[in-house]
């Protein structure tokens, strides 16, 4: 066979087939020979020659020079020869467009051939000739073939439309092929229907907004009928298409499900998975109390389990999908744990996926079995698998409390094996177990410490250091242990360095007497000898904390850590919902939306699960009760934060103000921000600090590196001057600062009693922001307003001191919505004693952004000729409501559905005596726009939209019951944290 000789040649020349230098010399003779054979009179010889050409083409040789000779062989009744020539044409037509035209005539003629196989062959091939000039000539033959009497030709022509669309979409539309294609959906032959569906689905993907696949109950019915009759592949096309349909109501949804379920018994796994996709999607719409819903859930489990007896590659696809299904509807497979047990000779990719699902299904009922399995796995050969198994044991401990003890002892057994990577992995998970169950398993620390030397991976070292730091008081030689790490500080990875820094600071706070030197050493290593901004920042923060106020440092650094959650690495709910719509496809294998790996416009369209029937009536959803209850809770949370600040304040007051040297008046504004800003976020807002701290302390095993905090980096690390400033005790007064914040928060809740303006946007009355005694006689009160689209901060500055004040300037710290002064603070004349001046400071929303806690917190620094003063205040979120916040009705509907239900918050507004129209007007003046009103049973539902300055949309539904003073407000927003503030804003606006 010619093959052998050709492959031999290839080998001679090495595997590089592009090595044209060799080829041109030898090939010339060969090509010449082939040319002669192609033009031979003998049919057999011709055919052999074309075969040789195709063989060369396959191995990557360029045989395009033979184009005219091969095309000459096209006119033949020998079907086999014709197919070979066509194969050649498809490969080279693009590179030889002028010569490819020679083939057109043959195609046109073949499309008229009496033999349907030849007609189909011609229409199939011509769609693969991607030459613009030719495409036009093919329209007529294609049109005929689409209406051919033979179904074989029609089904081929249907796909050809998709091919043509890929080459020239406009042409396809102009020629009206799309309509013909749509007609084929009603064809009598199931395979024609299936191919037409496939072609239309593909074309529709590149036209996301066209209503090409006009799916309606009638066409759906046709598809469901064809489903029973077409080939396995056709069934897949139809099911995948059905999955894009959104039934009108739960009844239609159920009837489609009923007709799709028989597909679950198909031998083809792809048919099964596509059916599962349709069912998972449509199930969303079924009421949960429906009997059929339960039946359907039960029907889904067996076929999913059966997929695991398919070939390993398919098992892999199935497992990746089951992983999604288990997250979306854990109830389906909760009793099927055993089938996910790993078999000794499963391929590694199947093993790893099974392990993942085992952890997701682990529960109190099956934990004993799971643990026994995991212990077996931990002794296997594959390192990745063993690591994952060890990690899984840790996750079981965290997930099922009853098993924690057994897990810990299993992990200890594994540590005894002394297998390096097993030990390291075990230590990483034990750290998490300590986090979850504090003060329970610390007896094992001694065993852990024995393995200190064998740890060479950063994650394990960091975990061990964390453990030593966290339990420093129980480890006698904690200082020695940590010191031993310090020697090679600069060779450690950042993760370890950060952890070491924190651990030593903890140690110092717990045993201050003997570790002063150590902490000095680590702080100077971190701040002076390191180039890493994260490390420097953290070093500086600790340094300043420790030098300013060790008591506060203790509060912060040794604060009680929040518990870690049970489930890790869950897929984010909106992504999960999207992936459920892609069951069976690559997206479900990669666990990524198609836009992440598909180029161009295809598949970028996001798919969504249908909303449950009647989701507009959100009172039916069970979570409402919680939300309503929760509405009262948040106000209680903030005062408690105030209390916390108060406590801190009391502590701080112990050392009198002597620690607070005055900042020289000449200090530059920039420098002020540098210090102030940095510290503000550290101390001014306790909860924020707490937050940062907790992030430092509690990395989930996977993602420590994500947790850097640029907001601090910008403020401190950014300036080279700061190094010098650090040597001396920092020049800021935390005491007064905290008091100011405490006051500010307290005042905020007095707002309710103020007077509102009858027209225009509601402007809360001014409140005291900075009391005179905290600011050397300067008293500041103020409020925020939005006046015809302009944001303003209204300030009243009062001089309660005895000397004249001048040189006023103002600056804001970064904040959630980027508020920043749009101009200087216009205090033109010096402020004489006892004088009050009102200033309106225009604001912009283009300043630097940092998420604050609470969201609407604003930290302000005001400077005058005497000093710099800091205070923080909260602005009503309503000032951020822009004037063009009226959403289109359709968009509103779509957006409302699009936002996951979890983001919906519900509140009650009590004692409001407006009717719905008055409320509408009142809200409108604050840029809360009512888009639609619906009246059901005497209850008015107002659908409202709000747009924030940063482009975030907030959708709301306000229910007003005639005669009842209580309103119900449902707020839906992608950024659900604003809901609370929107509610407060409604309260303020409606009641004033």
């Amino acid at each position: 066979m010619e093959w052998a000789s050709q492959l031999c040649e290839n080998r001679q020349f090495g595997s590089k087939m592009t090595d044209s230098k060799y080829f041109t010399t030898t090939k010339k003779g060969e090509i010449f020979e082939l040319k002669a054979e192609l033009n031979s009179d003998k049919k057999e010889k011709k055919k052999e020659a074309v075969k040789k050409v195709i063989a060369s083409m396959t191995v990557g040789k360029d045989v395009s020079a033979l184009f005219p000779d091969v095309v000459n062989c096209m006119q033949t009744d020998n079907l086999e020869l014709k197919k070979l020539v066509y194969l050649y044409l498809m490969n080279y037509a693009k590179s030889q467009p002028d010569m490819a035209i020679m083939a057109v005539n043959t195609f046109v003629k073949d499309c008229e051939d009496p033999n349907p196989l030849i007609r189909a062959l011609a229409v199939r091939t011509m769609g693969c000739i991607r030459v613009d000039k030719i495409t036009e000539y093919l329209c007529e033959p294609l049109r005929k073939c689409l209406k051919d009497e033979d179904p074989y030709v029609r089904k081929t022509a249907a796909v050809c439309v998709a091919k043509l669309h890929d080459i020239n979409a406009q042409l396809v539309e102009d020629q009206g092929f799309l309509d013909t294609l749509k007609d084929l959906i009603s064809d009598s032959n199931p395979m024609v229907v299936a191919n037409a569906v496939a072609a239309l689905s593909e074309i529709a993907e590149s036209h996301p907004n066209s209503n090409l696949l006009d799916l309606n109950p009638q066409s759906i019915n046709k598809l469901l009928t064809a489903l029973n009759e077409c080939t396995e592949w056709g069934q897949i096309f139809i099911l995948d298409c059905l999955a894009n349909y959104t039934p009108r109501d739960d009844r239609e949804s159920q009837s489609i499900c009923e007709r799709v379920t028989p597909r679950l018994s198909h031998a083809n796994s792809a048919v099964v998975l596509s059916a599962v996709k349709v069912l998972m999607k449509f199930m969303e719409m079924l009421p949960k109390d429906l009997d059929y819903y339960g039946t359907l859930l039960k029907k889904l489990a067996p076929p999913l389990v059966t997929l695991l007896s398919a070939e390993p590659e398919l098992q892999y696809v199935a497992l990746r999908n089951i992983n999604l299904i288990v997250q979306k509807r854990p109830e389906i497979l909760k009793h099927e744990m055993k089938v996910f047990f790993v078999k000794y000779n499963d391929p590694i990719y199947v093993k790893l996926e099974k392990l993942d699902i085992m952890i997701r299904l682990a529960s109190q009922a099956n934990i004993a079995q799971v643990l026994a399995e995991l212990k077996e796995y931990a002794t296997e050969v594959d390192v990745d698998f063993v690591r994952k198994a060890v990690r899984a044991i840790g996750r079981c401990a965290i997930k099922v409390e009853q098993s924690a003890e057994r897990c810990v002892s299993t992990l200890l057994d594994l540590i005894q094996t002394k297998v390096n990577y097993v030990v390291q992995e075990a230590i990483v998970v034990i750290k998490d177990i300590f986090r979850k169950y504090p003060n329970k398993y610390e007896s094992v620390i001694a065993t852990l410490c024995e393995n200190l030397d064998s740890l060479d991976e950063p994650e394990a070292r960091a975990a061990m250091i964390w453990i030593v730091g966290e339990y420093a008081e129980r480890i006698d030689n904690a200082d020695e242990l940590l010191e031993s790490f310090l020697e090679g500080f600069h060779d450690e990875s950042t993760q370890v360095q950060l952890q070491l820094l924190t651990a030593i600071v903890k140690l110092f706070l717990k045993k201050p007497t003997e570790t002063q030197e150590l902490v000095q050493q680590v702080l100077s290593l971190a701040t002076q000898d390191s180039d890493n901004p994260d490390l420097r920042d953290r070093g500086y923060i600790y340094w300043r904390l420790l030098s300013t106020d060790p008591v506060a440092a203790k509060e912060v650094v040794l604060a009680e850590k929040p518990l870690i959650s049970e489930e890790t690495d869950l897929i984010e709910p909106t992504l999960l919902d999207e992936l459920i719509c892609h069951i069976g496809t690559l997206a479900s294998v990669y666990h990524k939306p198609p836009s992440a790996f598909v180029e161009g416009s295809r598949g970028v369209q996001h798919k969504r699960l249908p909303a449950r029937a009647g989701s507009g009536e959100s009172t039916e959803s069970p979570d409402v009760g919680q939300s309503v209850g929760g509405a009262d809770a948040p106000p209680a949370v903030i005062p408690s934060q105030g209390d916390l600040l108060g406590d801190l304040l009391n502590l701080d007051l112990a050392p009198p103000a002597t620690t607070v040297p005055a900042v020289p008046a000449s200090m530059q504004m920039g420098a002020m921000d540098l210090l102030g800003g940095g510290l503000d976020s550290l101390m001014g807002d306790e909860s924020e600090t707490h937050n940062i701290h907790q992030r430092m302390e509690s990395p989930s095993p996977q993602s420590l590196s994500e947790y850097s905090h640029p907001e601090l980096g910008g403020d401190i690390g950014g300036s080279p001057a700061i190094g010098a400033g650090m040597g001396a005790p920092p020049a800021v007064m935390p005491a007064s600062l905290n008091a100011a914040v405490g006051g500010g928060l307290g005042d905020l809740f007095d707002l309710g009693g103020g007077v509102g303006m009858p027209t225009g946007a509601f402007i809360p009355p001014k409140t005291l922001w900075l009391p005179a005694m905290k600011a050397k006689g300067l008293e500041i009160s103020g409020t925020f307003a939005r006046r015809s689209g302009v944001l303003q901060m209204d300030l009243s500055l009062t001089n309660k001191a005895l000397s004249v004040m001048s040189d006023f300037a103002i600056q804001f710290n970064r904040n959630s919505f980027g508020l920043a002064p749009a101009g200087p603070l216009q205090v033109l004349t010096p402020l004489t004693p006892n004088q009050t001046i009102d200033v309106a400071l225009p604001l912009s929303t283009v300043g630097p952004i940092m998420k604050m806690e609470p969201l609407t917190n604003l930290q302000v620094a005001v400077k005058n000729n005497i000093d710099v003063f800091y205070f923080s205040c909260q602005y009503p979120i309503s000032i951020l409501f822009v004037e063009d916040g009226k959403m289109d009705r359709q968009v509103f509907l779509a957006t409302w559905k699009d936002i996951p239900n979890d983001n919906e918050a519900q509140f009650q507004i009590k004692d409001c005596h407006l009717n719905s129209d008055a409320a509408t007007n009142k809200l409108q003046s604050s840029n809360i726009f009512t888009i639609a009103k619906r009246t059901v049973d005497g209850q008015d539902m107002l659908y409202q939209s709000i747009k924030l300055t940063n482009g975030i949309w907030i959708l709301a539904e306000l229910r007003v019951q005639a005669g009842s003073p209580n309103y119900v407000l449902s707020v839906k927003c992608r950024a659900s944290e604003v809901s609370q503030f929107v509610y407060q804003c409604y309260e303020l606006v409606l009641k004033n």
Partner: protein, 426 residues
């Protein structure tokens, strides 16, 4: 959809390359070779994404089949198609080997052109394909033959052609089961299931309508007659595309028009009341650091009149084994150093018997800290019954147009139970 399909030999040389979509370039062929076939590490996933191009690959003996795409295709479908492609090739020219592929490359291209259009799988039933992809040219067909071909390829019964005639109408049913077990050293069943297949060989004239019945618990309970104790609970079953699924869903009856020749009618899975043909009782004792004593007893657990065949017990040995002494009562046992196992073979064994092997394993002292993983003891066997308890109750054949009745059809039924993954931990 599928953008291209490549077949490589084990060295990574392309044997077949067919590109369906414009977004797949020639460089994709090389990308796969470099990143998967020649990859230093064993591939960790059957789907590999290289430079935004996804490669689905399966391996058959030394041959790699790869489907390539840049779109969000139905992944399950791609793999099903690759398997189907293998089936079709096997049906045409036997084993998938480099030799066979090279010798049939024109045929393969012709098949690929037919069963995959623009990356969309089309009818891939060999029964239908063989009527018009013959490598002989089809110029001699009459018009009727042509339309018969096209209607079969696109028709509702794409798997069978009309006009089949046999002088003797005959059918063979094979119930083939593989019984899987994972048992703890203490004899506790950790997991057990049977995956079974009903394979049918039909040599029937015309377009026969068939109805298949077995001792499915649901059917028997519904009919309310017969002994419910001999029925079995089937966890799940899947059917060849010839079976009318909606009918199964509503009435749980299995009716179909079979393809001609051999095909797999159904697959099923059971987990309840499985007859475990063998029980393995292991005893491993570590004597010091350099010696292991192993004793394994196997017990057969079925009717004494039946004979199990091809029994093989595989007892894994540690990597540092230096010598093994084996004594067995029955069959032959050998230590195979290359496989790190003692392989004990018994040709035949009747039911309700037991046999025993004991071995002393000498170990080389090592300083490897990691303990020996103790892989499970695995077993292979073949028994002449269905471990799930499945029984064929009937297979009725109706062909109204031809003059033969159900009684004229000669029917054969055979049960074979084989070990799947049958392991006992030690």
């Amino acid at each position: 959809m599928i953008g291209g399909l490549f077949i490589y030999n084990h060295k990574g040389e392309v044997l077949i390359s067919r590109v369906y979509r414009d977004d797949i370039g020639r460089n994709a062929v090389d990308a796969f070779r470099v990143n998967v076939i020649h990859a230093r590490q064993q591939v960790r996933s059957p789907v590999t994404n290289i430079a935004r191009t996804s490669f689905f690959h399966v391996k058959r003996s030394n041959i790699w089949l790869a489907a390539v795409t840049k779109q969000n295709v139905n992944a399950a479908m791609v793999f099903e198609f690759l398997y189907k492609m293998c089936d079709v090739m096997t049906a045409y020219f036997g084993k998938i080997s480099e030799e066979n592929i090279k010798n049939n490359f024109v045929l393969i291209y012709e098949l690929l052109d037919e069963i995959l259009d623009f990356g969309y799988p089309q009818n891939s039933e060999t029964g239908a394909l063989k009527t018009f992809i013959t490598q002989q040219g089809i110029k001699s067909q009459t018009k009727e033959e042509q339309s018969q071909i096209t209607s079969q390829v696109t028709g509702q019964i794409g798997w069978r052609r009309e006009g089949i005639k046999y002088r003797r109408n005959e059918l063979f049913l094979d119930v083939l089961e593989s019984v899987n077990l994972l048992m703890s050293p203490q004899g506790q069943v950790l997991s057990a299931h049977v995956s079974g297949r009903v394979v049918m060989k039909s040599y029937l004239s015309g377009m026969p309508e068939c109805k298949f019945g077995m001792n499915d618990k649901i059917v028997i309970d519904k009919q309310g007659k017969g002994d419910a104790t001999v029925s079995i609970a089937i966890d799940d079953c899947t059917f060849h595309q010839c079976v009318r699924l909606s009918k199964f869903d509503s009435e749980r009856s299995i009716s179909f028009i079979p393809p001609d020749g051999e095909y797999e009618l159904m697959r099923y899975r059971t987990t309840k009341d499985i007859i475990l043909p063998f029980r393995v009782i292991p005893l491993v004792r570590e004597v010091g650091r350099t010696k292991l004593e192993v004793k394994v007893v196997i017990k057969s657990n079925f009717k004494p009149s039946l004979l199990a065949q091809k029994i093989e017990v595989r007892i894994p040995t540690p990597l540092n084994t230096s010598g093994v002494q084996v004594i067995c009562m029955k069959g032959k046992a050998k230590y195979k150093a290359s496989e790190n196992a003692i392989v004990w073979k018994i040709k035949r064994m009747a039911g309700m018997k037991e046999s025993q092997i004991s071995a002393e394993i000498e170990l080389l002292p090592t300083n490897d800290k990691k303990k020996w993983a103790r892989p499970p003891i695995s077993m292979n066997f073949e028994v002449p019954f269905a471990p799930s308890g499945l029984k064929v109750r009937y297979l009725k054949v109706f062909e109204p147009k031809l003059n033969y009745s159900d009684h004229d059809v000669i029917k054969w039924v055979r049960y074979i139970g084989r070990s799947g993954i049958y392991e006992t931990r030690c």
